[in-house]
């Protein structure tokens, strides 16, 4: 048996491999479900209907998709530059922190302008959280993976400190919670879904255009491919790294604003709830293409929403639902291997080539 690198896989082959992966995931998970004592068909049907079955469920799935899409776009911009930003969590929290400050503690802004200002401040706060590792990487060659990861913990602790300390709502006696946002600081709704959905769709278009058509986008690709070539072409590497991370962190920050002002209605640790890490997976699966982020995030949202639905509908324990999600993810990521490599079986006899 040999493992051989594929020389350019055709689109048809890629689609086939992905389909086989999905079928494999369904079968393997089905066996697992049977062992748990459930009917796999029933579980799958419930998962789908739990995510898409009614207007409310569909809305919930879309709400789950929004933070994934925007965070993925932020991560994508950084990954395109081969800057391994795994600090989405921290950037989301800092974005939410910035928005919360405006929503709760600044009262001189005219009410209609509060939300736009929250977005701007949230973007900048997330962006600054992205610029910190970028600055150290650009000037001292610091490892961005470690730095972005560590900054997550600082952001987490900072929010916890605010929640139990200075920002604790005094009206809630004995319960450590930051006050809810006033109504004018909550995201307006369109068709029952907060405007975060529209924002996420617009951002997909903007980022796709930005990476493909603008000079900055071109620079990001060149730096990502070869720093020495970028330098040779006269590009200012430090500036590019820092501005790109402002954008990357800023986009994650916008997720924070939307989650705080649209879903949680206040600043809590739930604002990020793992999106910063999940988005790394969705970004990777999208193959660093902005439009595909949308599709992958939607499928992922179905998985998350359907998974939590079967917990309550069929009394499947949460751990089992997580295993299901994990297996499906494993097959999806595993198919990536077969897109890049093929396995060849052959015996030592004449002309037994199997392609």
């Amino acid at each position: 048996m040999q493992i051989i690198k594929r020389e350019g896989t055709s689109t048809k082959q890629i689609i086939m491999i992905r389909l086989i992966a999905i079928i494999a995931a369904i079968i393997v998970s089905g066996i697992f479900i049977v062992f748990l004592g459930y009917n796999p068909v029933k579980v799958y049907v419930n998962m789908i209907s739990g995510a898409l079955g009614s207007k409310i469920r569909f809305r919930a799935t879309l709400l789950e998709m929004v933070p994934l899409v925007i965070t993925s776009l932020g991560i994508l911009v950084a990954f395109k530059m081969k800057f391994w930003n795994i600090g989405g969590e921290g950037q989301i929290l800092m974005g939410a922190f910035g928005a919360t400050y405006i929503a709760l503690f600044v009262d001189w802004i005219p009410k209609p302008l509060v939300i736009p200002v929250m977005f701007i401040v949230g973007f900048l706060a997330g962006g600054i959280w992205g610029i910190i590792p970028a600055f150290f990487k650009a000037n001292f060659g610091a490892n961005e993976t470690i730095m972005t990861l560590m900054l997550n913990y600082i952001a987490t602790q900072w929010i916890t400190y605010l929640q139990y300390g200075p920002w604790r709502d005094p009206d809630l006696k004995g319960f450590a919670k930051i006050a809810n946002f006033p109504d004018h600081a909550l995201l307006p709704k369109v068709f029952g879904i907060h405007i975060g959905l529209i924002i996420s769709l617009v951002l997909v278009i903007i980022i796709s255009w930005f990476l493909r058509r603008t000079k900055r986008g071109f620079e990001i690709s060149v730096v990502g491919e070869s720093v020495s070539t970028a330098r040779y072409a006269g590009m200012d590497i430090s500036r590019i790294i820092i501005t790109t991370m402002l954008l990357s962190g800023g986009l994650c920050g916008i997720t924070g604003v939307i989650q705080a002002a649209g879903v949680n209605k206040t600043l809590t640790m739930n604002v990020s709830s793992g999106y910063g890490f999940t988005a790394v997976i969705t970004t990777y699966l999208s193959g660093l293409r902005a439009q595909r982020v949308l599709i992958v995030s939607f499928l992922f949202a179905i998985l998350l929403q359907g998974g939590s639905y079967i917990q309550s509908a069929l009394q499947i324990p949460q751990a089992a639902a997580d295993v299901l999600q994990g297996m499906i993810l494993f097959c999806a990521l595993g198919s990536e291997f077969f897109v890049n490599y093929k396995v060849r079986f052959r015996k030592n006899s004449i002309s037994s080539e199997v392609k």
Binding site: Q2, S226, T229, N348, S351
Partner: protein, 512 residues
């Protein structure tokens, strides 16, 4: 008569519509160094890849030690005693030479142990090779790495060695060393196949040579009964004029004046030491020197990519030291440096020709978006002018052959209409036709009044192509001389550190 180690009969191989090999016949004897000669795309690599198990022939038969075999995998080839030394080394940087040799061969958990190292040393002794087995690959020079590659193959007991363009990345001295090793190997009974398109190497090291053209064997000749002219004709298919006609153009104004340029490398050792020279418009100034004498740093300091410790660089009277690379590009300085791996600097491998053309130009476009239309025109123009062979201008550069990649880079730099063109190793690894094509392009630029700084390896070419030659040794200029008044040997001495005045006294190596 010696035993036949390898025999390939009527080998055919097609890739899609391309017939890479058509009825190729080829045999190698014990103790022989056999040259495979041919232009790019003549089918040399395809042929040896079938020997090393990477491809299988569509038809035809292969005999190893007289026995018909069907080589189905590289592993099988190794078992048959066929070892391939690729142009791009397949070594692991962080491991030592010994660990690399043992890698994949050793069955035990621990990679190194005394008895194995002893057996490697035995192999080295047997073939008269020298290398520090405890040195890490990343600390090695190119030629040392190659030695490790050869050792790796020998340690596995290969008696048939295939070397794919082994000299493309070596200096003249390193080539000599390699050839000594190869001759030793042949004497002890190995059969060696060497792929190259450098004729003088064929002449100096091989016993027999097989010429391929457009996938077919043209002829197999005994090296001592042939000459360079005949081989060239067989290879190209028509008589070729091998001399470079020097164009005498009017010497223009002073373009570049470098004064006391000093730059530091690792551990603050000077890599450029008080370098002073002038370059005029319409002149080709050649730079000769052993690899690593400061050529790279010289190019990069002028292009603003390497920090200058001391000294001035006047371009058209303006001191450009401390300017950003972009400011220097704007003033009309173009640099194309072909590194050993060909892709290191100047091109983005995963992007297509169009985006690579944009690399320096995009910044001058108005607005915040990039306009790919002019770049597309440029890609078409360059590709037509330099006869670049590519499936299309939308193909990723990485997928082109080495020669075509170089043409893309040089073509882009020339198309920018520079005032000063710095070009390092532009013909590295190119075949004859392509090389002369590049020389013609450079001469054309010279006639237009462009000042050219040409960093080259082939001393014959330097003497024929350049107006003046500057020799670098350990970052110091050992002499600048008119190319008509110096010989190859004279340049060689200067490359080794002798100064021009001292060799002039000897008067043996200078023409009148």
């Amino acid at each position: 008569m010696n035993k036949t180690y390898v025999e390939m009969k009527n080998i055919c191989k097609t890739f899609g519509v391309i017939r890479a090999n058509r009825n190729v016949n080829f045999s190698v004897y014990e103790g022989e160094i056999h040259g495979l000669l041919g232009e790019n795309g003549a089918g040399k690599s395809t042929l040896v890849n079938m020997l090393s198990g990477i491809y299988t022939p569509d038809s035809g038969s292969i005999f190893i030690h007289g026995e018909q075999v069907n080589i189905h995998s590289p592993k099988h080839a190794i078992e048959l005693g066929i070892g391939m030394i690729h142009q791009h080394f397949k070594l692991i940087d962080v491991l030592t030479a010994a660990e690399n040799v043992l890698l994949g061969h050793s069955q035990s958990v621990f990679i190194s142990n005394k008895s194995r190292i002893k057996s490697i040393q035995n192999v080295m002794e047997k073939y008269g090779m020298e290398i520090d087995l405890n040195k890490r690959i990343m600390d090695m020079s190119v030629s040392e790495k190659q030695t490790v590659e050869i050792l790796k193959v020998l340690y596995r007991g290969s008696k048939i060695l295939i070397l794919d363009e082994p000299t493309a990345v070596l200096t003249p001295q390193e080539i000599d060393k390699l050839f000594t090793v190869l001759k030793n190997l042949a004497e002890t009974g190995c059969a060696i196949i060497i792929i190259t398109h450098k004729l003088n190497e064929i002449m100096s090291v091989t016993d027999r040579v097989t010429v391929l053209r457009q996938g077919e064997t043209v002829s197999t000749l005994e090296t001592r009964k042939t000459n360079i002219r005949e081989l060239t004709e067989l290879m190209v298919g028509k008589p070729v004029n091998l001399s470079i006609e020097r164009i005498h153009s009017r010497k223009g104004d002073l373009l570049l004046s470098v004064k006391g340029l000093t730059a530091l490398g690792e551990h603050n050792v000077p890599v450029l030491d008080n370098v002073t020279f002038d370059l005029y418009e319409g002149e080709i100034l050649g730079v000769a020197g052993v690899a690593g004498s400061g050529q790279k740093e010289l190019c990069e300091t002028i292009a603003g990519l390497y920090p200058v410790e001391k000294g001035d660089i006047y371009f058209k009277g303006e001191n450009i030291v401390g300017f950003s690379p972009r400011e220097i590009i704007k003033r009309g300085v173009s640099m194309s440096f072909i590194p050993e791996d060909r892709l290191g600097m100047g091109l983005v491998p995963s992007m297509n020709m169009i985006d690579n053309m944009l690399l320096k130009d995009y910044v001058n476009q108005p607005g915040i978006t990039v306009n790919r239309k002019p770049a597309k025109e440029k890609a078409e123009r360059v590709s037509k002018r330099l006869e670049i062979q590519a499936p299309s201008i939308y193909t990723a550069i990485r997928k082109l052959s080495g020669g075509n990649i170089q043409k893309v880079l040089l073509g882009r730099e020339i198309d920018a209409n520079p005032h000063l063109l710095i070009t390092a190793y532009p013909v590295r690894g190119l075949d004859i036709g392509a090389s002369y094509n590049i020389y013609d392009l450079l001469k054309e630029q010279k006639q237009k009044g462009v000042g050219i700084l040409y960093i080259g390896e082939d001393l014959d070419v330097l003497i024929e192509l350049c107006d003046r030659i500057m020799v670098l040794c350990d970052g110091k200029v050992t002499g600048i001389t008119g190319s008509e008044s110096i010989t190859k040997e004279g340049l060689g001495l200067m490359m080794a550190g002798e100064t021009l005045s001292s060799i002039k006294k000897g008067d043996v190596v200078c023409k009148s």
